[in-house]
């Protein structure tokens, strides 16, 4: 085989690989560390928008973010004297999520929810359900679950998997967009 034919073949292979790479769905990985209403809500807006754009979406919930995925009207037992009271002080679930600013014992959150409803903006519960329906991959960090003394039974059905940092890193490395919220 001549030198040019060999080069031609190699270029053809590279072009095919490049086309395959460019035509794959774009991927988004979100780390949801915060549990506040006004941080978790935009995380789900981004996730739902990305799914509608045809992108693959992973949401990796860790630390306070885990509390937002808790079953509604449920209090985790906790595993020791330090994490038991935590679940009394921080109710969790979309209903229990506080505002990061101007929460004012729930008065501020009520006002924000009223303003949102007036604008026709879907509430956090609806956004979470929509993300689940659209196939957003919702993951809970087992390290943070251990700290908070939570197990799988404490979480809403939207959680698809219980994973560690290696899973997040593998997904993030393949992603076109990553955000820490």
């Amino acid at each position: 085989m001549g030198e040019y034919e060999e080069l031609d073949e190699r270029i053809g292979k590279l072009e095919a690989e490049l086309e395959q790479y460019n035509s794959r769905p774009k991927k988004v990985s979100l780390v949801v560390w915060s549990g506040e209403y006004d941080r978790v809500l935009p995380a789900f807006v981004i996730a739902n928008g990305a799914k509608a754009m045809g992108m693959d979406v992973d949401m990796y919930f860790t630390f306070w973010g885990l509390k937002a995925l808790q079953k509604e009207d449920h209090r985790p037992e906790g595993t020791n004297l330090l994490n038991k009271p935590l679940h009394y002080m921080l109710p969790g679930g979309p209903k229990g999520a506080k505002l990061s600013s101007l929460h004012m014992y729930g008065i501020g959150k009520g006002m924000i929810k009223k303003l949102m409803a007036d604008q026709g903006i879907s509430d956090l519960e609806e956004q979470i359900d929509l993300a689940y329906e659209q196939g957003v991959n919702i993951q809970a960090c087992t390290l943070a679950m251990g700290i908070f003394g939570m197990d799988k039974s404490d979480f809403s059905d939207v959680v698809g998997s219980y994973v560690g940092v290696a899973t997040y890193l593998m997904n993030a490395a393949e992603s076109d967009i990553t955000l820490f919220i």
């Binding site: 928008g49 799914k51 754009m53 045809g54």
Partner: protein, 82 residues
């Protein structure tokens, strides 16, 4: 393309819906259309022009046109032939 010549095969009413619901509905609806068919979206969220254009860019659909009348936005999208 002249606006009054677009005869949409389907109209998607997104009035009163806000980000990201219009594009979520658009994605759901466009899957039901045949190649070459046109969809008209009617919305009140002023982001739909930019968002539908970006959505088309990402999904390979054709962004045809956009007009605004009395704070209502009309966006036209075509499913490509292949």
């Amino acid at each position: 393309m002249s606006l009054d010549k677009i005869e949409a095969d389907y109209t998607l009413d997104c009035k009163g819906m806000v980000c990201p619901i219009p594009i979520v509905r658009l994605k759901q609806k466009i899957g039901e259309l045949e190649p070459g068919q046109t969809l008209e979206m009617i919305a009140t969220d002023s982001a739909v022009d930019s968002d539908v254009s970006a959505w088309c860019n990402s999904t390979g659909n054709e962004y045809l046109d956009y007009r605004e009348e009395d704070n209502t936005y009309y966006v036209y999208v075509r499913v490509p032939l292949n």
